[in-house]
């Protein structure tokens, strides 16, 4: 048995007590990471593109146009199976949004451009300008005007990219315009018709000579409303801007002076007018070349394509599509590769095209490129649906015989403004606060 001196024992005891007292120190505060404040769910994602095991990439779309490009992608990523699910356009928006809310979204969404507004200001898509997706060539290879509506200049985010797009161009009879002494070169004609006065003068003159340069006055307005966006980045309604009001006035003049053919291009009569050399100019999306060739095959070589008059820019929203990568995707890099592959493929439509024997253009590519590159003043917006709905009602009324007057045009704009007023104010105040 070890005998310890009493004094040493007590000394040791005191030292131990002292150390214990030193060590014991309690505070009511804990590291913030240990409080519920810091709790959140971690995102699981695969940050690599290298695929060693079989992967499935899910794509939702309303129209599977991707099959043509799928083979090349599969060759590049043999371990990747692409599941494409088609769904109806009418339920597409709610299905897409629900999948995001329910956390059951696919990797990639294909979004019809007419519904872009419903997806433009929500969370759920990846920002493809993030350095994570850094690819400097992607934007450089694309027309600036085409990409501008997809990029939020304030937040520098791009959540959706254009997949398939059909710019509006102007089709015209080169031979007739040449004969009548009007500019026939595409560029010359485009410059000439940037001026509404010139256009009206030409329309009047050609009408007297039995020619029409537009199918209906509504075409302009329809082109304006269906192929453009009415809200800008500052949540301002630009539908009633001076430039566009000029177009409205031109449309009304066309209506008043009956400078138009009177029926849309889709009517048989109008198509016949094409064949009869009566309708010698019309506006349409880039896919209209196919229809034109079907309607007047014998007129091969007589037509040309140029950009829209009045410096208009338009892209057919009803047939164009865009793509977005879901933030819930577990293979975002792979999804991005898919998106890039598909969108690059589609871009080839306008970069690969050179000549078409039907049209006199030496090179069609600059026409389309210029159409795409022109700055579209507006952006997809949450109000697009409401505006389109009001326009649809207005158009219907016009088609049913309501007089096409500036008053009706103004009423349309007033209806729009009234409809969006409250929420517009909210958005503008919110934006102002964000900027400050």
């Amino acid at each position: 048995m070890i005998i310890i001196d009493k004094k040493i024992f007590y000394l040791a005891l005191y030292i131990v007590i002292g150390l214990l007292l030193t060590a014991c120190s309690k505070s009511a505060f804990i590291p913030i990471e240990q409080t519920p404040l810091a709790n959140y769910k971690e995102k699981t994602e695969n940050n690599t593109v290298e695929i060693s095991e079989k992967k499935v990439l899910k794509v939702w779309t309303h129209d599977d146009i991707l099959q043509g490009s799928l083979t090349a992608f599969s060759e590049k990523f043999p371990n990747v199976e692409v599941e494409i699910k088609e769904m109806g356009k009418s339920t597409l928006v709610s299905q897409y949004r629900s999948s995001l809310v329910m956390n059951k979204s696919p990797d990639i969404f294909v979004i019809p451009d007419e519904f872009l507004g419903s997806f433009s200001s929500i969370n759920g898509f990846e920002n493809l300008l993030d350095e994570y997706y850094d690819d400097p060539t992607y934007l450089d290879n694309r027309p600036e005007g085409l990409m501008k509506p997809y990029i939020d200049s304030q937040s520098q985010e791009m959540n959706i990219v254009p997949l398939l797009y059909f710019p509006y161009v102007m089709y015209y009879r080169v031979d007739i315009l040449e004969e009548l002494g009007y500019p026939s070169d595409p560029q010359d004609l485009a410059v000439y018709l940037n001026n509404t006065y010139n256009w009206l003068t030409m329309a009047r003159d050609l009408k007297e000579k039995g020619y029409y340069i537009t199918d209906t006055e509504v075409t302009f307005l329809d082109t304006l409303f269906r192929a453009n966006y009415f809200m800008d980045e500052q949540n301002e309604y630009i539908g009633s801007s001076n430039e566009w009001l000029d177009i409205h006035k031109t449309a009304i003049t066309i209506y008043d002076e009956q400078l138009d053919f009177g029926k849309t291009i889709w009517e048989q009569e109008t198509q016949q007018a094409l064949r009869d050399d009566e309708l010698i100019m019309f506006i349409g999306a880039s896919y209209m070349d196919h229809h034109l060739k079907g309607w007047a095959p014998e007129q091969e070589g007589k037509w040309a394509i140029t950009t829209l008059p009045f410096e208009l820019t338009a892209i057919d929203q009803y047939n164009s599509m865009s793509m977005a990568i879901s933030s819930q995707s577990e293979d975002k890099m792979l999804a991005w590769e898919f998106v890039k592959h598909m969108t690059n493929d589609m871009l080839n439509i306008y970069t690969g095209i050179k000549q078409d024997p039907y049209f006199q253009n030496q090179n069609l590519q600059p026409v389309y490129w210029e159409s795409l590159d022109s700055n579209m003043p507006g952006k997809p917006h949450v109000f697009d649906d409401d505006i389109k709905m009001i326009w649809d009602v207005t158009l219907k009324n016009l088609n049913w015989g309501e007089p096409f007057t500036m008053e009706n045009v103004h009423r349309f704009h007033d209806d729009v403004k009234s409809r969006i007023k409250y929420e517009q104010q909210l958005l503008q105040e919110f934006d102002k606060a964000e900027r400050e």
Partner: protein, 608 residues
């Protein structure tokens, strides 16, 4: 310095442990500030175990404190504080409260240094910390004084601490007044601090509840499409919520952030204060739960007043799939509360100063009055002795004046009593002297012959046994001289008894004079004309010489009066002890015999 205690190192350990314990149980004030009473131990150590040991205790305690959130600045200031106050106390004594004031003055002079060390602490908070430290220091100094004064006199501690000094009554009164003044006010400060903090928490609770209710109200009012928009974090829904929460916040300096399940902040209202884009940004801070889903967040790693100044109250509530934070910066509230408490502390400081002033005044009055009483008592014996009146200057304190008057009355009574006693004493002394005189007379009468002033027969018979005993012990001889005056009877018959007495008296004187020359010779008168002398001697030859000398002395004429001179002779017989006898009677008998033989021889020689 005098050794104060016998066990310094043992006490260093005890003091250190107590100091560490006290450091670990500080009294929380508010917002991370505490009041540490460790200075009590440090200062008490100065007086109870000495300054070097007190510094050791301070250093160990402060170093231990470093491990629990203390700072180097606190360590250094503690050591400096103890050193300065300790040195002042050693040099000038007095009390710690006094020297604390001196230290406080030094602190004021080094205000710029303090501000620099305080870093980015706002001025209001810095001033509050200063005043808090000053009040704490003064209170600790007072308690340390009390402990140091009274602990050593408590049973059980007397053997440890050797203080035996008594207390000034004024000091006791000062301690009581100061403690009774400061302690309750200090308690009130604590209570007020707690109350202010609780008030703030209640306000925050109210705001949190309002926020929760507003969020619930908004969530319940959303339609399905709006819920969808909410879950998709659409700009429109953001704008709508922004408007709602902006209205809720109003002019208040608050912030609302909505986080989704992944911790991403998808809506922030009022971004001026906190810039959180993700919950990962909530790092490097500490949090405390003060209510359900209500937290105090300090963006620092430790709780301090500066941390609280930068803190925020965060109330979280769920809104559909998101988490809504209401963030309330506490800067303004805390500064406001600290300012209020600062005023309370200033008031407490003022009260301390006033209390100190009053204790000084009371102390002076008491000291002066007690001094007068003490002087009165001190001078009492002298004045009474000198039969002088006692004078006392009125103090205007009734008790002291009454005491002085009582003392004066007592003095007067005592003076009277002493005078009576003195008189009686004098009488007693006289009587005693008389008695002693009588006693002496009696003794003299019993032992001395009144005529010749020589020892009488009583004395002879009393002293001789002692002489015999001393002689036996010292082994020294003595002899008896039996002296008989020749023809004394003739003189007595011829000239009368009166003349005979004169003769005897003169002869007695002669014997006394002879004794003066020969101290070893002691004469006695046994009766009539019979004289005895006791001689302690060294040799027989000396006896013979002395005998012959004595005979010669005796034969000298004695003048009895102006006309009468008598020539006498004396017959001297000598007996030696123990040769001639072991008893007195034997020796007397032998000496008498020899005297007679000599007388006969003398007569025969005279006749011849």
């Amino acid at each position: 310095m005098n050794k104060i205690t016998r066990k310094p190192m043992f006490l260093v350990i005890i003091f250190t442990l107590i100091a560490i314990l006290i450091h670990h149980i500080p009294v929380p004030l508010l917002f991370g500030t505490h009041i540490y009473f460790t200075d009590i131990i440090f200062f008490a150590a100065i007086r109870l175990i000495g300054l070097p040991y007190a510094l050791l205790v301070t250093i160990i305690t402060s170093v231990a404190a470093l491990f629990t959130g203390g700072s180097i600045v606190t360590l250094v200031t503690s050591i400096i504080k103890v050193a300065i106050i300790g040195l002042l106390w050693i040099k000038r004594k007095k009390d710690f409260v006094t020297w604390s004031f001196v230290y406080i003055l030094l602190v004021f002079l080094s205000y710029p240094i303090g501000q620099y060390l305080a870093g980015d602490l706002p001025t209001t908070l810095f001033h509050f910390e200063m005043v808090k430290e000053i009040v704490t220091l003064l209170f600790c100094a007072l308690v340390a004084d009390i402990i140091s004064d009274y602990l050593p006199v408590i049973k059980g501690f007397r053997t440890i601490f050797r203080s035996t000094s008594s207390f000034y009554f004024g000091k006791i009164i000062s301690h009581i007044i100061l403690f009774a003044t400061i302690f309750p006010l200090l308690l009130i400060v604590f209570i007020v601090a707690k109350s202010l903090e609780n008030d703030m928490y209640q306000t925050l609770q109210y705001q949190a509840n309002s926020f929760k209710n507003r969020v619930a109200e908004e969530a319940s009012s959303l339609e399905l499409s709006e819920i969808m928009e909410f879950r998709l974090e659409s700009d429109l829904q953001k704008a709508n919520l922004y408007a709602i929460f902006s209205e809720f916040i109003g002019d208040r300096n608050q912030q609302v952030i909505l986080f989704n399940n992944y911790g991403e902040a998808w809506l922030t209202i009022n971004q001026d204060q906190i810039q959180w884009s993700h919950k990962d940004d909530i790092q490097n801070g500490i949090g405390k739960t003060i209510m359900e889903n209500g937290f105090i967040y300090i963006p620092q790693s430790g709780e301090s007043l500066n941390g609280w100044h930068q803190s925020s109250f965060i109330s979280s509530t769920s809104m559909l799939s998101s988490e809504a934070f209401l963030i309330v910066p506490l800067e303004e509230s805390i500064v406001k509360i600290i300012k209020q408490l600062y005023h309370y502390l200033i008031f407490l400081l003022a009260v301390i100063l006033v209390a100190l002033l009053f204790t000084i005044i009371i102390n002076r009055i008491l000291t002066k009055s007690i001094f007068h009483i003490t002087s009165l008592a001190t001078n009492l014996p002298i004045r009474m002795k000198n039969n002088e009146a006692l004078n006392f200057k009125a103090t205007r304190i009734r008790e002291f004046d009454e005491l002085a008057n009582n003392i004066k009355q007592v003095a007067t009574e005592l003076r009277h009593m002493f005078s009576v006693i003195e008189r009686k004493n004098k009488q007693l002394t006289e009587k005693t002297d008389q008695l002693m005189e009588s006693e002496n007379k009696l003794f003299r009468l019993a032992h001395y012959d009144s005529l010749t002033l020589l020892g009488n027969r009583n004395k002879f018979y009393e002293e001789l046994p002692h002489i015999i005993r001393r002689t036996d012990l010292q082994e020294q001889e003595f002899c008896l001289f039996f002296i008989d005056l020749d023809r004394f009877k003739e003189v007595n018959d011829t000239y009368g008894h009166q003349t005979g007495d004169v003769l005897l008296k003169r002869f007695g004187r002669r014997l006394l004079e002879f004794k003066a020359s020969y101290p070893e010779f002691t004469p006695y008168r046994l009766a009539g004309d019979e004289f005895v002398g006791v001689l302690r001697f060294v040799s027989r030859e000396e006896v013979t010489i002395i005998r012959k000398e004595l005979e010669h002395i005796c034969e000298q004429p004695i003048q009895l009066n102006n006309k009468l001179v008598i020539h006498l002779t004396a017959s001297i017989g000598v007996s030696f002890y123990p040769d001639d006898g072991a008893t007195i009677d034997d020796l007397l008998h032998e000496a008498d015999q020899k005297m007679y033989e000599r007388k006969v021889l003398r007569d025969e020689s005279n006749d011849g």
